[in-house]
């Protein structure tokens, strides 16, 4: 979230912290995904939070890319 780091707000800071922690383990922001599906793919039904986490988890480790360093 671009606006998440606007100064002065503890809750915004907390959101950025949560988003960072999630992304560290390979989970992008769920709200953003839902917003994206609603805006760009109106006909499609977005995955639920649980489906989203399951899908991202599976993708993170099945890929051919090396996701981490030594």
């Amino acid at each position: 979230m671009r606006e998440a780091l606007a100064p002065g707000s503890l809750s915004l800071f907390w959101r950025a912290f949560r988003e960072t922690a999630h992304l560290m383990v390979g989970l992008p922001d769920y709200q953003r995904y839902v917003a994206h599906v609603a805006a760009r793919h109106p006909g499609k039904i977005a995955m639920t939070k649980a489906e989203f986490v399951a899908e991202r988890t599976a993708r993170r480790y099945e890929g051919r890319g090396v996701g981490r360093c030594c």
Partner: protein
């Protein structure tokens, strides 16, 4: 800033005979980083790469809410840093401390500024300009299919050797340590519990699951002491290195074929959060305590006779410390998920260059941790039993004769303080780092009574992310092997086929398992043999990535600035090839693999048995292992040389062409089809 930095360096370099405070090292590092970031990375951003804030990144153009997501740069920095920071920057500097803290510090700081951070920054930018494609893909498209295959082989091999070395680090820390073994084993049911909870009870609650897991882990550390102090329980968790190696191989195989949500993903949460938390805690600890460095600036072992790793300062220091100065592995990470999330191309400087500087700071902290403990204890922990024996008194005598005076009772007391029976020959960096960290953190919280808990926390945290890497790495190597083998036998490529998956996984585990087992039975402690091989592999990959970067710069008709990547390439080529040559052909058996094989086969021919072999079969095994190591080394050198030649050809062709020939995608306004 530059003046403060210069003063700090002078303090580090010219103080002799009295302990220097770690504050000077921290100051020298921070000043170097800020000057380099402010000036050199800006030069690269504006002159060399010409980053363009108006150019649309793949995250924006291909946004799908999943892989391609424009992400705030601070959030992305956290993601990127978590991906590049691992065991590497903690182990290498600890081993390099045998030469004193100064050579390591200079290489970490110098290397990161002109090589490591440059590599990360440039590869991240190039990948971003190619829709976030992988290093192998970019090599294929810019340098040709043959170069792509060579690179793929090199990448599979480095993953396999990495897994073997990391496995060895864990085993060295856990051998004969019931407390450590218990806590590390406890992570398996804890992770499985978290996995089941997150799958069926509270789906998707990552934060909640992680907090539960961390609470259980802390309980396991506390209870570990009871295990270690109860003889019947301790016996259940006390293993020899060989047994641990077999268990690790079995574990690696099973873990890699289980569903990821059960074991891998939840443990990844634990290891990632513990890693970041510990790094932050250690940084705060160092700043609060500002410990004195007890290790001399330079030791006599720069002559190559050191017990931790053999070989001269040049080239071996430069391959011992890879992560922290320059790590080829990062080129894989920088062409992985990060480029798909860059909100704006101009942020590649902060993420790529800045991220690597931060990792370098972790390496400096590891060096500080290794330097704050008594040098005598350092050498007792890191020298092989073949040199210092297996009793505290004998070890103290040998190490004192090297000029690092220490008493046997001091060594025993140090082991007792951290809740272990012995600390001798716990090579591999992790235990030394854990002792140093325990000393620093116990100084801040808890005092001596907490030492043992901090130590086992340190061991657990390293073992945790090493096991995660072994699990994930085995999967990655399996896919790569399936890809490569699929070129010959197409059926192998079918990742939906259980037969192909099991076969490729078994092949991967057999690959790292063989090297690992050989490291465990190695008379010189394994790390001594394998870490240089890993270093050569990692620097080989960096040379590969930087060669690619130089080729791309020439193809962009930016050859005026190609020196930015060509000079570090040249340096890495010199280091890897000299080190590789020495590992192959050096007449000293403690350095050259072939000389070592020769020594053992001569003895075998004469009917003699040399330690540590206790039989002719083991003699033959050692000879066979030496030849495997030599072959690996030769292949790494072959990959480096082949890539350099491909690079030179591609550069010459690019220079002859009057126009830009690099294959980028997605200039602003150009709409490339998206899903």
């Amino acid at each position: 800033m530059a003046i403060v930095g210069a003063a700090a360096f002078a303090m580090l370099a010219f103080t002799r005979g009295e302990p220097v405070n770690a504050a000077w090292m921290v100051a020298a590092a921070l000043c170097t980083y800020s000057v380099a970031y402010r000036f050199y990375s800006k030069f690269i951003a504006t002159q060399v790469l010409r980053l363009d804030a108006a150019r649309i990144t793949p995250a924006v153009r291909l946004e799908d809410g999943l892989d391609y997501v424009p992400t705030n740069r601070f959030v992305l920095f956290g993601h990127h840093f978590a991906a590049i920071a691992g065991a590497g920057p903690l182990v290498g500097p600890v081993l390099a401390a045998q030469m004193g803290y100064l050579p390591g510090t200079l290489w970490i700081l110098g290397g990161v500024v002109v090589a490591g951070a440059v590599q990360d920054f440039v590869i991240l930018t190039f990948s971003t300009r190619r829709d976030g494609r992988s290093l192998g893909d970019i090599i294929r498209s810019e340098m040709g299919a043959a170069a792509g295959v060579v690179a793929s082989i090199g990448i599979v091999m480095i993953v396999i050797i990495l897994l073997a070395v990391l496995g060895l680090v864990v085993i060295k820390a856990l051998t004969g340590s019931p407390w450590g073994t218990f806590t590390v084993m406890a992570t398996i049911p804890i992770a499985a519990l978290m996995g089941l909870y997150g799958r069926f009870l509270r789906p998707g609650r990552v934060g909640e699951i992680s907090l539960i897991g961390i609470a259980l882990l802390l309980f396991a550390i506390l209870y570990g002491r009871t295990v270690a102090e109860t003889p019947t329980l301790a016996a259940l968790f006390t293993f020899k290195g060989e047994t641990l190696a077999l268990m690790l191989m079995f574990y690696g195989f099973v873990a890699a074929v289980l569903p990821v949500w059960l074991l891998l993903a939840p443990r990844d949460y634990l290891s990632t959060f513990l890693k970041i938390g510990t790094i932050v805690a250690l940084a705060v600890g160092i700043v609060i305590i500002m410990p004195d460095l007890k290790m001399p600036a330079v030791t006599r072992f720069i002559d190559g006779s050191g017990p931790v790793f053999s070989g001269n300062l040049f080239p071996f220091l430069f391959i011992t410390i890879a992560c922290g100065s320059v790590s080829g592995f990062h080129a894989l990470v920088c062409s992985g998920t990060t480029p798909k999330m860059l909100e704006n191309e101009s942020q590649a400087r902060f993420i790529g260059y800045g991220g690597m500087l931060t990792e370098s700071a972790v390496a400096i902290m590891a060096l500080i941790a290794a330097s704050v403990i008594d040098p005598g204890l350092y050498f007792a922990m890191n020298s092989p039993a073949a040199l210092i024996g297996t009793t505290a008194d004998h070890a103290a005598e040998v190490i004192s004769s090297w000029g690092f005076t220490i008493g046997g009772d001091t060594l025993s007391a140090a082991a007792h303080d951290i809740g272990e029976t012995t600390l001798l020959s716990r090579s591999g960096g992790a235990p030394t780092f854990a002792v140093g960290m325990a000393n620093i953190l116990a100084g801040a919280i808890g005092g001596r009574g907490m030492l043992a808990y901090w130590y086992h926390f340190g061991i657990l945290f390293e073992a945790l992310f090493i096991l995660t890497t072994i699990d994930a790495g085995t999967r990655v190597a399996r896919f790569m092997i399936q890809d490569l083998a699929g070129m010959a036998v197409p059926a192998f490529r079918d990742t939906g086929s259980w037969g192909a998956n099991i076969a490729a996984t078994a092949l991967t585990v057999a690959g790292w398992g063989t090297i690992l087992y050989q490291g465990v039975v190695d008379p010189l402690g394994g790390i001594n043999t394998l870490w240089p091989l890993f270093g050569i592999a990692n620097q080989m990959l960096a040379a590969l990535a930087l060669t690619l970067a130089s080729v791309v710069l020439c193809k962009m008709k930016r050859e005026r600035y190609a020196w930015v990547t060509a000079l570090p390439t040249l340096w890495l080529l010199i280091c890897t090839l000299t080190a590789g040559w020495a590992k192959l052909f050096h007449p000293n058996p403690s350095i050259g693999f072939l000389a070592h094989a020769q020594k053992f086969s001569d003895a075998a021919a004469a009917g003699q048995i040399l330690t540590p072999a206790n039989g002719m079969a083991q003699m033959n095994r050692i000879i066979f292992n030496d030849r495997i190591d030599a072959t690996l080394c030769a292949i790494f050198m072959g990959v480096v040389i082949a890539t350099a030649l491909f690079g030179i050809t591609a550069i010459r062709r690019a220079l002859q062409s009057p126009v830009k020939t690099s294959r980028e995608v997605g200039f602003e306004g150009l709409e490339v089809g998206h899903a």
